[in-house]
Symmetry: C2
Subunit: 323 residues, 2 copies
């Protein structure tokens, strides 16, 4: 038999990321297809299977080389049965993608939430390599998260575990969040939240870098805030401090309860680099038990867009082999 | 063979609680011995083994009836090897109690932190019966905690997981905590913390039930605060509200991340009953994701002092039988 491979699939609202990955976690081939949202996404799984078959044929892979597939999807998932309870972005509701994909691929398929698999990827081959206790936070348009404890993804009672973005960061008079409550971490630490804080600060202080940007372009982005902070603009620095303190507070309180080895910060906002981590770490140390403050690593994610497919392969490996 | 039994042992600073427990979780016999702290606690394990042998002989148990022992101890523990890294109250440091007790009892011994085992007890036979995802909080002199996720105790990287009492509840100008930081949940939701808040309120308002108590007895206890609140005293109600809001906030944020089925409140403070839970639940609902607010149970612990030994037997069962 040729070298055995896992399939990793990361289904997003725009594209599906696909990869063949060795049992050691190396990507041998990766590609994307467009997510076909026609008719409530009923073609997506079929097109994933077709694309995998075509790619395998082109690469000359033998059928017995592909040992199992891991699939990440957004939304609420019954991971035990591989059923998507609801994925609003894709139009899926109570959809058994595990059974459909197993029928099409003739190999075991393991399904989990995409944020959980990004955590699994960073744990296997990324910024938390080898960590059996890890928190991963994705700071993008929203704030997502995945928790690994004792080497296993934590799902909670209804598959909602890891919703780090909806930890209440601003206790009183917080901004309203899509989830229905106020002051969620997402309202202050996502790209959207940081942009909002930046715009509000520009409007309040009416001077400085952010105000210039606002006047010129009519808007302020999270990147503008970090750019301003790097240039030493006081208002921008204040916004970075405010956002980072909320994030450090939320992460410290999770770490006080979960004692992770490593916390990984990913997503677009994490590209800000050390100006983000320095401020987050400062707040983290203030709000965490001294031993946890001293021992917990806070790292920027290293796998970028590959985290999902690598995490999917990690989960397929964990659930289908004896390691 | 007669009915097989587990041994449950819960080692505290004053007494060691011991029990024989069926494989279904019923205590058939329980007793206590004094914790002998002479010479850094070097006799404790020997005296536990002796006491078990004596009791078994008195009850006419046959040696093969006792299948495994679970042991709960305070402090930091290497659970994999059954080594107490440090238990200040007992004088233990780097002490391999698993191997010593296995040599004395000739059966498998499983060791874990006492707060984790109290969570296990409430999960097996108490207020969280059957919950595979559970938070247990002990509101006593301090605030302890145990987390069960996916049916397993969460230990974290250094065995510190579950330190719910040191979640930062008061973000700025919080009272100093023994752990070295400020504003820990323990400073506002333990019996000690509630008493402090009650005393401060009595001194501030100089009138009402708590002030009368303070003037008469020179001190205010947590029980005084709850008694006053039940009588409708405004200052006492305000203190209960303040303490419960901090607790509800901390629990909501943990639940947002962990999605437990049930949260169990135990320890002396939990005897206050519904005046505590009503206020905690109100805050919990304010700070948790709507679906989590709707689905999470918050219950008062039901096992009292038996939680530790029952949890010890639960762990012995989990780790030594195929269930």
């Amino acid at each position: 038999m040729k070298k055995p491979l896992f399939i990793g699939a990361d289904i997003g609202g725009t594209t599906v990321k696909l990869a063949f990955i060795t049992h050691e976690g190396h990507i041998t081939d990766k590609w994307e297809i467009t997510t076909n949202r026609t008719d409530n996404g009923k073609y997506i799984i079929k097109e994933i299977a077709e694309s995998i078959h075509n790619r395998a044929a082109v690469l000359g892979l033998t059928p017995d080389q592909l040992t199992a597939a891991g699939v990440g999807a957004p939304g609420y998932i019954d991971v035990e049965n591989g059923v998507i309870i609801e994925a609003v972005n894709l139009g899926w509701k109570n959809y058994g993608i595990k059974s459909e994909l197993e029928t099409l691929l003739h190999i075991p398929v393991i399904v989990d939430n995409d944020a959980n698999l990004a955590a699994g990827g960073e744990k296997w081959k990324g910024a938390g390599e080898g960590a059996d206790n890890l928190l991963a936070v994705t700071l993008g348009t929203g704030v997502g998260g995945g928790i690994i404890a004792g080497g296993e993804i934590i799902h909670g009672e209804s598959g909602l575990a890891g919703e780090i973005g909806h930890i209440t960061a601003v206790k009183s008079e917080g901004a309203p969040c899509n989830c229905g409550k106020k002051g969620c971490l997402e309202t202050v630490s996502s790209a959207t939240g940081i942009a909002r804080l930046g715009r509000e600060a520009a409007e309040e202080y009416k001077t400085g870098y952010l105000n210039d940007i606002l006047t010129e372009s009519g808007t302020v982005t999270a990147k503008d805030v970090f750019d301003g902070a790097k240039k030493g603009d006081e208002t921008a620095l204040k916004v970075v401090k405010e956002s980072s303190t909320h994030l450090g507070f939320a992460l410290a309180n999770l770490a006080n309860a979960l004692n992770p080895e490593t916390i990984v910060l990913g997503g677009g906002v994490s590209k800000a680099g050390s100006i983000l981590t320095d401020n987050v770490i400062e707040a983290f140390k203030q709000f965490s038990i001294p031993k946890i403050a001293a021992e917990t690593n806070i790292n920027i994610a290293t796998l970028g867009n590959d985290a999902g497919v690598i995490g999917a392969a990690w989960l397929a490996r964990q659930k289908t082999t004896s390691l």
